[in-house]
């Protein structure tokens, strides 16, 4: 990271691992459970959140000295809602097929607690550049977990990855299905996402004892 100072690069790298919004701060769980049944949806959601949180953090940071403290949460909500609506409209006009693909996910970004969390905890107290890095970093940390969960849920639940049948055809009984393997339908249900997130948390804390809470 030659471009960034050591302090700045930590803003991006920390949320990827030791300060991950999902596994350490336990934020943004709701959408992580809801949309990770397919890898593609996870990837798209990750990209959308990176875009919204990056821009939103900059906007809030630029306004941080003029926002009335009494209504700051409402202001943050308005900013993220406006951004999400603009993204949605632009996609509908210029990338219609992609916007069909995303359908509800774009709207779901508004409800993502990571976004409000970073506005409140970081952008209100820091300059635009650092806020931008913090936004990108946290959204990427969130996206990383989404992609991991989406990978396992789609692979074990549907036997596909990004829609390709990587394990063979379950109806024609080819590939691993020929030796009696079956897809685990449980994987498609939200509770299994919680269990996978739990496993990730376990692995992460087992490797880095400093993360274990008292």
């Amino acid at each position: 990271m030659g471009l960034l100072s050591k302090k700045d690069s930590r803003l991006i790298l920390d949320p990827l691992a030791d300060n991950n919004p999902i596994t350490i701060q336990v934020l943004g769980i709701c959408s992580a459970l809801a949309i990770t049944a397919q890898l593609k949806a996870s990837i798209v959601m990750a990209i959308s959140v990176i875009a919204v949180l990056g821009v939103g953090n900059v906007v809030i940071s630029l306004m941080r000295n003029v926002i009335p403290s009494k209504i700051r949460i409402i202001v943050q909500l308005v900013v993220v809602a406006a951004l999400v609506i603009i993204v949605d409209q632009v996609l509908k006009a210029f990338a219609y097929e992609l916007s069909k693909e995303l359908s509800v996910f774009i709207g779901l970004i508004i409800t993502n607690c990571i976004i409000m969390g970073r506005f409140e905890a970081f952008a209100l107290a820091n300059g635009p550049w650092r806020s931008f890095l913090d936004g990108i970093g946290n959204a990427a940390g969130y996206g990383l977990i989404l992609v991991i969960v989406g990978f396992f849920r789609e692979l074990l639940g549907s036997g596909t990855l990004l829609g390709f049948q990587v394990l063979g055809d379950p109806i024609e009984k080819t590939g691993v299905y020929a030796i009696g393997y079956e897809n685990n339908g449980f994987m498609l249900l939200s509770p299994m996402a919680l269990i996978i997130v739990g496993l990730i948390i376990w692995v992460q804390r087992a490797r880095n004892k400093a993360l274990i809470e008292e």
Binding site: A34, Q38, N65, P68, A82, I85, A93, E154, I171, L188
Partner: protein, 249 residues
């Protein structure tokens, strides 16, 4: 000294300005993009109608490819021979029948004295005439809709389903090939009695070899969406029956 941002008057002025700025920004964006979005939606409808009658860009298994957007108007005009509007006993031709908003028609039909307009598209592919019926119903979370293509003997030639917000991986699978393809060859009548097509669990026919059971295999974990599809086909295709029954005579 208190910061100026703590004052009530400042808070009120700030919120007024914020609402004005954000409101006009969003209104401007929506207005500016409206015509483009409308055009996209119109093309999509054409693509969906063509998809139901088997005119699409599908190549391999599991593909769902529409005809290319830049050529859709041309192809639509080539395959769709007639667009009808059925209003009670009256059947008239209308080259813009595909623009009829069936959601609005459904609402208006509740008013007394309003005869609902039913659009029907007649297409021809490889010498075969198909009657394509638009449908709209309710899934688990939000609207579902689709098109059903029938031949003269009321056997399904193809379908297309779409949804607004069904669960990805579960209800949203209604727009996957393996679900939609199952409908091909199913009949909507059983000994001349209207049955529709049920999305059924446990009909012991997962590969869908029985074409006379008026049922296709359901999606695991998507019971309510599947029931919604069943209800939608029953409700909307039934309205066309009086016309469809005249085809065989």
């Amino acid at each position: 000294m208190a910061k100026f941002t703590d004052k009530n008057s400042y808070t009120i002025i700030f919120s007024i300005i914020m609402v004005l700025v954000v409101g006009s920004l969003l209104a401007g964006v929506a207005q500016g993009l409206r015509s483009k979005i409308d055009l996209n939606e119109r093309y999509e409808k054409m693509q969906n109608i063509l998809y139901a009658m088997g005119v699409n860009g599908n190549e391999g298994d599991g593909d769902i490819n529409f005809v290319p957007t830049d050529k859709v108007e041309e192809i639509f005009a080539m395959y769709i021979k007639k667009q009808l509007v059925i209003q009670g006993e009256n059947v008239s031709e209308d080259p813009e029948a595909y623009l009829i908003d069936i959601k609005k028609e459904e609402t208006k039909a509740k008013e007394e004295g309003y005869q609902r307009r039913l659009p029907l598209f007649i297409g021809e592919k490889d010498g075969k005439t198909m009657y394509i019926i638009p449908m709209r119903g309710k899934g688990l979370w939000d609207a579902i809709w689709g098109f059903l293509a029938l031949d003269e003997s009321l056997v399904v030639q193809g379908v297309f389903f779409d949804h607004k917000g069904e669960t990805p991986g579960l209800g949203a699978e209604i727009k996957q090939r393996y679900f939609m393809d199952d409908f091909e060859g199913e009949a909507i009548l059983d000994n001349d009695v209207f049955k529709g097509i049920s999305v059924a669990k446990g009909n012991n026919d997962p590969i869908n070899t029985k074409k006379t059971d008026n049922a296709v295999d359901a999606l695991a974990g998507a019971t309510i969406t599947g029931d919604g599809v069943t209800a939608m086909i029953k409700k909307d295709v039934r309205m066309y029956l009086p016309y469809l029954r005249t085809l065989n005579k």
